[in-house]
C-alpha cells in the first residue's frame, strides 16, 4: 500500500484529494454518494460576514468542456455557519477548511476571527479571487498590494492554517503568490475560475444575469497546470492545485507540476463519486509505478 498522506503546513491530509469550494456544499450534500471521510479535506462553500443572496438567475452557462457560473457567494453568513452548519459537519473525520470571502478587509477579519475557535475547522482558505462579486473578491487578488494587505490583516487574527486562493485573472500569478507568502500565507490554492462570458446569439443577450462569470472545468486545466508550475517554482509554501481536475491522471499531473495537494471542483457536478475515484486512482498509479510515497511525485516533473 503506497503512502498517500501529504502535509499542507500543519495539516496532515490522509491523501492529497480535497473538494473545491462552491462545488461540494458543506459535505452532507454528498453523503448519499460517497464516504466523505475518505477525502483529504473539504473546502466549504464561501462564508462571508453577513448573509449574501448572491446574483440573480441565470447563474450558470454550460460551455465547451466546462461551465461558467456567477453564483456570487450566496451564503447565510458566518454566524449561521457556526450555529447551524458546523454542528452538522463537525463529525467528519477529515479536515474542514472554510472558504472565507467578503467585500471589505474588516469583513474577512471578522469571519476568520470567528472561525478561529472552531475546533474542527482546521484551516481557512482566503478567497481573494471570486470574479462574481462587485466589491471585494477578485479585486483583492489581482494586485500585489491588495493581496498582501488582506493576507496580513487576516493573519493577525487567525492562528491556524491559512491558505490563500489565487486568481488566474492576472498578468503574473507568481508575483501575487510571493506577495501573500511574504505576509504569512501558509499555502496557496491555484487557481480560482477564469473570467469568461457566454452569449445567446438567438436572443442577442448574455446568458448570465451578470454578463460575465467564472469559467471552470476541463477547459481550464492546461492554464491551471501552467500556473501551478509557475507558482510552485516561485514560493516555498505548499501549493494546492485545482482547475479542471476530473480524474486521477489529471491529479497526478498537478502533483508533478508542483502541487502538494489538489482540489476537485466542477467534476463533482458530473460525477458525485469522482473524488473517491481519484483517490483510488492515485493509489493505483503509485502501485503501478512502484511509488511507495505519493510525496515522491510532488514537483517530480522532468523537464
Amino acid at each position: 500500500m503506497p503512502e498517500l498522506s501529504v502535509n499542507v503546513h500543519k495539516l496532515l491530509l490522509k491523501n492529497p484529494v480535497m473538494s473545491a469550494s462552491g462545488t461540494f456544499g458543506y459535505g452532507p450534500e454528498f453523503d448519499d454518494f460517497i464516504d466523505v471521510n475518505r477525502l483529504g479535506g473539504i473546502l466549504t462553500k464561501a462564508c462571508t460576514s453577513k448573509n449574501r443572496d448572491g446574483n440573480r438567475y441565470p447563474r450558470m452557462a454550460e460551455t465547451p468542456s466546462g461551465m461558467l457560473n456567477s453564483v456570487g457567494l450566496q451564503n447565510k453568513g458566518v454566524d449561521y455557519f457556526i450555529n447551524t452548519i458546523y454542528p452538522k459537519i463537525e463529525h467528519y473525520n477529515t479536515h474542514i477548511i472554510v472558504n472565507v470571502s467578503d467585500s471589505t478587509v474588516e469583513g474577512y477579519m471578522e469571519v476568520a476571527e470567528k472561525l478561529n475557535s472552531l475546533e474542527k475547522v482546521t484551516g481557512i482558505e482566503l478567497n481573494i479571487s471570486c470574479p462574481n462579486v462587485k466589491e471585494g473578491g477578485m479585486a483583492f487578488g489581482t494586485s500585489c498590494p491588495m493581496a498582501a494587505s488582506v493576507t496580513k490583516s487576516v493573519r493577525s487574527v487567525y492562528d491556524k492554517t491559512m491558505i490563500v486562493k489565487l486568481s488566474p485573472n492576472v498578468t503574473n500569478i507568481a508575483e501575487i503568490a510571493k506577495a501573500v507568502e511574504d505576509e504569512g500565507a501558509d499555502s496557496v490554492s491555484v487557481i480560482n475560475t477564469l473570467l469568461g462570458m457566454a452569449i445567446d446569439a438567438e436572443k442577442r443577450k448574455p446568458v448570465l444575469s451578470t454578463i460575465t462569470g467564472g469559467l471552470s472545468g476541463p477547459a481550464i486545466k492546461p492554464i491551471a497546470l501552467r500556473m501551478v508550475w509557475q507558482v510552485s517554482k516561485a514560493v516555498n509554501i505548499p501549493v494546492i492545485g485545482l482547475g479542471g481536475i476530473s480524474n486521477a491522471t489529471d491529479a497526478i499531473e498537478f502533483l508533478l507540476a508542483g502541487a502538494t495537494a489538489i482540489q476537485v471542483g466542477t467534476a463533482n457536478f458530473v460525477d458525485p463519486q469522482v473524488c473517491i475515484k481519484i483517490i483510488d486512482g492515485i493509489e493505483a498509479y503509485c502501485t503501478r509505478h512502484g511509488i511507495k510515497d505519493v510525496k515522491e511525485l510532488i514537483g517530480a516533473l522532468e523537464c
Partner: protein
Amino acid sequence: MKKFIHDFVVTRNHHITDDYFAIYLKCPVSLPGILPGQFAEVLVSNSTTTYLRRPFSIYDADYEKNELSLLIKKVGDGTAALSKLIEGDVLNLVYPLGNSFSMPSGKKALLVGGGVGIAPMLMLAKLLHSKGYKPDVLIGGRTADDIIEPEKYEPYGKVFITTDDGSAGEKGMVTQHSLFAEDIKTYSAIYACGPDPMMKAVGRIAATHDIPCEISLENTMACGIGACLCCVVETIEGNKTTCMEGPVFDTRMLK
C-alpha cells in the same frame, strides 16, 4: 429521501414523434420509491459537446418491471444524443431528486401540461387517482404533434386538449380552454408544468380564484443535489434551489 447513482440499462427507446421520445430504463437494483415531480440528472456520455448532466422529470415508474422512464424533447446536442440510445445501452442517473406535489384539500384537481412539460403529470395523475381524487388533465401544445401520449392519462381522469393552431382539441392556449371559464372554481388544486409564460398565466388565474397552484420549474442546473446553487429561484423567503427545495413550488411563494 436518499439519492442514488446507478447505471440503468435501456430496454426501449420509444420515438413517439420526430421531436419527442420516451426512454425506458431498467434499474440494476430494486427501484427506489419515486414521487411525482421528482427528476433525474442524466449523464449524456454519447455527446462530446454535452459536459454537464441533464435534468429530466421522471415520466413513470414501473415497480413490477423495475423500470423508470423519461419523456424527452429533442432540443440540442444532449437530447439528440439521448434519442439515439438503443436497447442495451447504459445510462447513468443520479436520482430521485427534488420534492413533490402536495395533495389537494378537496376531490377535484386540474393538471396542466404544456408540451414536454406534461412529463411529471402522469405519475401525479396516477397518485391522485389511487388516493381517490378526481384529476382532470389538460394537455396543451403548439400543434397536435406536441400532444404526447394523451391516452396514458385516460385511466386516471378526464383528458382535455388545446393546441395553438386548433389541430387537436380546443384552439388556443391552455388558459383559454373552457375549463378555465366557469368550472375552474370547482377545483381545489391546480398543478402545472410547461413553458414559463404558461405556468405564470395558470398561476395568475389560480390566484384570482384563490385556488392553490403548484408548478414544476425547469431552471438550468449543474449538480442537481444542492451543491452549486446555480438553479435558484427568487421566493418570498429568499433564493431557493430548484433542485432541492423544488422543482415544485407553490406559486404564492414565487416572486
